[in-house]
């Protein structure tokens, strides 16, 4: 059994070096795919982190009716605060609103108007899961249904822009990612197909000598895995140099720490093996049936 395994592994490497040009092409394609996928993944990851930071104060401003008493306004505030979509909030009484007015306009509203006509209001932070435009619209509509609530405000334009950018980027990353994965798999598959074609006579001889289908197929599958691993190594080396470059250019803004780079290595090796295996499996199933 061990000698059989040794033979199969030796066959796989022999096959890899036998047609090294298409095999190298496959490795390079897998390498490029993994490089782009890793960059895309981390760019997306960083972008999400950045937007989370920017939008961490996903805020709703609720203004109560002028006629609402302090007691009713506070009751409504607590009612809203208990909603699962609300993370936390602050009730703004007349004193606080006057203070805010002074901060924004550098004047005391009571001095200007003789009284404080500003209504009771509240600021609410939205819970993490609801930080998107659709949820915000629903929450806003629900709050407007409360009798004591007059106006619900949020910075819609910025949020819409962020959401659109995120959606577009997600779509673009997904399309690019899928396209690259498909291209890699097709290329690995074609390389394996070429290998199978060039070894047709050898395969026939092995079959005549009593080799099982599995015995004939496994070296091609391992060869696909080898291509995937070589491709992953190419990608990892390129990403490592990119990391050094980024660290050199953006010294205070080191984007990739060592822990993340270990993840990158694992991600690349894992995906490389998967791409290589799927590609070779596709060719083997198609041309060695």
């Amino acid at each position: 059994m061990i000698s059989k395994i040794k033979f199969i592994i030796a066959e796989s490497f022999r096959g890899f070096f036998y047609a090294w040009t298409p095999a190298l092409l496959s490795c390079i394609t897998i390498g490029i795919s993994l490089f782009v996928i890793t960059i895309s993944f981390f760019s997306y990851f960083l972008f999400i982190t950045y937007t989370d930071t920017v939008t961490k104060d996903y805020e709703l401003n609720v203004f109560f009716n002028e006629s609402t008493s302090l007691e009713n306004a506070e009751k409504s505030f607590n009612e809203i605060l208990s909603l699962p979509s609300i993370k936390n909030g602050e009730f703004i009484n007349k004193k606080k609103s006057a203070k805010k007015f002074k901060t924004y306009f550098s004047s005391n509203i009571e001095d200007l108007l003789g009284e404080n006509p500003l209504p009771y209001s509240a600021e609410f932070n939205i819970s993490q899961n609801n930080r998107n435009l659709d949820s915000l619209l629903i929450i806003s509509e629900n709050l407007k249904k409360i009798n004591t609530v007059d106006i619900v405000k949020y910075d819609q334009e910025i949020l819409i822009r962020f959401e659109n950018i995120i959606n577009k980027l997600m779509t673009t990353f997904s399309i690019i990612g899928i396209a690259i994965v498909v291209i890699s798999i097709i290329l690995v598959s074609n390389t394996t197909r070429l290998m199978i074609h060039s070894k047709k006579e050898s395969i026939n001889i092995l079959s005549l000598l009593g080799a099982t289908n599995l015995f004939i197929r496994v070296p091609f599958l391992i060869e696909g895995i080898i291509q995937g691993l070589f491709g992953a190594c190419m990608s990892i080396v390129s990403l490592y140099f990119l990391k050094i470059l980024l660290e050199y250019i953006f010294v205070p803004l080191v984007l990739v720490n060592d822990y993340n780079f270990q993840l990158i290595i694992l991600l690349n090796l894992g995906l490389g093996v998967i791409f290589g295996l799927i590609g070779s499996k596709r060719a083997v199933s198609k041309y060695l049936s």
């Binding site: 061990i2 000698s3 009593g210 099982t212």
Partner: protein
């Protein structure tokens, strides 16, 4: 039908046809254990089809073939590799792996069978010595003469100690002297090892002096009847 217990191969009214209608028709013969029999007939007469139907590269559509008493029609497709491991095959075009050495080629059936490397080394050397090309063990097949290549092919067929060798025109590409040497070698191996050999050839002058039993085939039909 005669008692088939001492027969390695029994063809009982076997027909196998290709899509274009050619093939073999109502072939019946027996091959005893350790027997050396020639399958004789012109090119395209169906000799290879008979051999291919034994190693199940061609499926028959009438009659039955018994191999060691076992009906081949009842063997499932996934059991074919196991059957082939028990049969040695020699071909006119040698069917050697050109990117491997002589040693690798001869070792191949044992590697397929999952034998241990020490056993493989011993057995391959033994076989190469037996067929007289031990000194060529590290050569590529492309560097060998036709006769030497056929000897590699014979060593590869014998290395797994088969009970049957099917030789499909093994002398077809060889000059008469080398062809004679190859048949001498096969005869000697058949006598010493006790392997049954069924060898196809179109060259009657080559086999005539050997006084061996032969089955004559023409246009897929049997001319000389064995049973």
């Amino acid at each position: 039908m005669k008692n088939s217990s001492n027969k390695i191969i029994v063809f009982d009214n076997v027909s196998a046809t290709y899509k274009n209608g050619v093939g073999i028709f109502d072939i019946s013969f027996e091959l005893g254990k350790s027997e050396f029999v020639f399958l004789m007939g012109p090119t395209g007469s169906g000799k290879s089809t008979i051999l291919r139907s034994i190693y199940m590269d061609v499926f028959i559509n009438k009659g039955k073939i018994l191999y060691n008493g076992r009906n081949l029609s009842k063997i499932r497709k996934r059991q074919v590799p196991k059957l082939r491991r028990n049969i040695g095959m020699i071909f006119q075009d040698y069917k050697l792996l050109e990117d491997r050495t002589v040693y690798d080629n001869v070792a191949l059936p044992l590697q397929i069978a999952g034998q241990k490397s020490n056993f493989i080394k011993k057995k391959v050397s033994e076989m190469l010595e037996r067929v007289g090309i031990l000194d060529k063990y590290n050569s590529q097949p492309s560097k060998l003469s036709g006769g030497e290549r056929q000897r590699v092919s014979i060593a590869r067929a014998l290395v797994k100690s088969p009970d049957l060798i099917l030789a499909d025109e093994p002398t077809g590409n060889l000059d008469p002297i080398v062809a004679d040497e190859i048949i001498d070698l096969l005869e000697e191996l058949s006598n010493s090892v006790g392997t049954a050999i069924l060898m196809s050839t179109h060259n009657f002058p080559l086999i005539r002096p050997r006084q061996k039993r032969f089955i004559e085939i023409d246009q897929g039909k049997q001319i000389t009847h064995d049973i």
